[in-house]
């Protein structure tokens, strides 16, 4: 067990986790998930918000089993290795709104950092301005960290705090398995067309979610952390995982005939470089201030971190705002109020960054 832990904590451990994500995501796409969206934490949480009826964008409503899979896979790993620690209390309300704005930024680009990497590996060059934006947003976050920014200590909590998010994940899974209908013409919604209608078989999606959740909990895979650690202290440990995602997803896409290079006509994507960049500046800054990318927040929620769970709920709420208020982009381009929302979000994050500094 100790030997296994040592491997997972090593450079090869994180590269293995990245490689597994890089291989499995294009396979999920082959089996039915949307284009260059084998896995996308932001998009899938948005689809879940839609399935629950929190927004009514009819094309993006599906109760994605990968998301509860991530939480439960992480929970299983944390229980087996004695790392399940119920904790909370590090500015949860601030984390909620960081989650809201992180999602709004991600939906202006149309993807979380994982999907940005997968889009790049599928030949969608619109991911390049997005990844540059992500790095820029994280760099701003690092600047705040260097000024003494932090959201304060969390505290050990009773077991119930740690089990709330895994329980929520199980309820979501049950909704999906039994395809519950709570009223005539009401939720749970399942898209009949568009990205929400495209999905891999339930058991495959769930199994992949559990496997990645398990590996990511052990290796601490985090796309935001990867870039942050390079900028903050020249540490490339986590970056190995990110590089492995791109390399292995690229190779798997080639093998499966899913590599289509270009800017125009990419699946679930638009070509507005300015707002692909801008959306991810906001998302990157919000992730950096909250201490983890959307995937990492799910894995933390699985190991008992109630504050990460609040961030996840913030993201799901952010998806509802994004689609109800015409903030989310579509393949036609940014939504009517998307750019304005990015500017408001950046202003809010900058205020949080300055306000939560600890004076030395």
């Amino acid at each position: 067990m100790a030997k296994l832990s040592r491997f997972f904590a090593s450079r090869w451990g994180i590269i293995t986790a990245g490689a597994v994500v890089g291989i499995l995501a294009p396979i999920l796409q082959k089996l039915g998930n949307p284009g260059n969206m084998g896995i996308c934490v932001a998009c899938f949480e948005r689809d879940i918000a839609g399935a629950l009826g929190l927004h009514r964008a009819a094309v993006v409503q599906y109760l994605r089993p990968e998301i509860p899979g991530f939480i439960l896979g992480s929970l299983i790993a944390a229980l087996i290795f004695g790392e399940f620690r119920p904790r909370s209390g590090s500015a949860p309300i601030v984390r909620f709104f960081l989650g809201v704005f992180a999602m709004i930024g991600a939906l202006v680009f149309l993807g979380c950092p994982w999907r940005a990497l997968l889009r790049l590996a599928g030949g969608d060059w619109n991911a390049i301005p997005a990844l540059l934006g992500l790095a820029a947003g994280i760099a701003i976050g690092v600047w705040f960290l260097k000024q003494g920014y932090n959201l304060g200590r969390s505290h050990k909590a009773s077991a119930v705090t740690g089990w709330i998010m895994p329980a929520f994940a199980i309820v979501l899974l049950l909704f999906r398995i039994f395809r519950l209908r709570f009223s005539e013409g009401g939720p749970i919604f399942f898209s009949e067309s568009g990205p929400g209608s495209m999905y891999a078989p339930l058991l495959v999606s769930l199994a992949v979610g559990l496997a990645i959740g398990f590996l990511a909990q052990r290796t601490r895979l985090c796309t935001m952390g990867a870039i942050r650690d390079v900028i903050l202290m020249g540490d490339t440990h986590l970056f190995g995982g990110v590089a492995a995602i791109v390399v292995f997803a690229f190779l798997t896409n080639l093998l499966l005939g899913q590599f289509h290079p270009g800017f125009a006509g990419q699946p679930v994507a638009h070509t507005n470089h300015l707002w692909n960049f801008g959306g991810m500046v906001l998302a990157g800054l919000a992730f950096a201030l909250a201490g983890g990318c959307p995937g990492r927040q799910l894995f933390l929620a699985g190991e008992g971190d109630g504050d990460a769970g609040v961030f996840v709920l913030g993201m799901i709420s952010g998806a509802a705002f994004a689609h109800n208020f015409a903030l989310a982009s579509s393949p036609a381009g940014p939504g009517a109020f998307g750019p304005a929302a990015v500017i408001v979000g950046l202003a809010v994050c900058i205020v949080i960054g300055f306000a939560a500094r600890e004076k030395a």
């Binding site: 932090n150 200590r153 050990k156 601490r220 952390g225 903050l232 440990h237 201490g291």
Partner: protein, 69 residues
């Protein structure tokens, strides 16, 4: 006189930043208290990369890392 860095409850990168500041201040040995295995690994990796020695003890359900030259 040991420097004590109490990073319990902070999530990364905070414990790493706090430990690094203590290392830069140069008052060895440095005792870093952390709560999670993630923080334990991150602080250890940073210190070992800086060419320092790290000893890890489990204290209850927490960890104490002693960093020496």
């Amino acid at each position: 006189m040991a420097t004590i860095v109490d990073a319990r409850g902070f999530s990364c990168p905070q414990p790493v930043i706090m430990a690094r500041q203590a290392i830069q201040a140069g008052q060895f040995p440095i005792e870093v208290l952390v709560e999670t295995a993630t923080s334990r690994e991150n602080v250890r990796r940073m210190a070992e990369k800086a060419g320092l020695k790290v000893r890890i003890e489990e204290v209850g359900d927490e960890f104490k890392l002693t960093i020496t030259k």
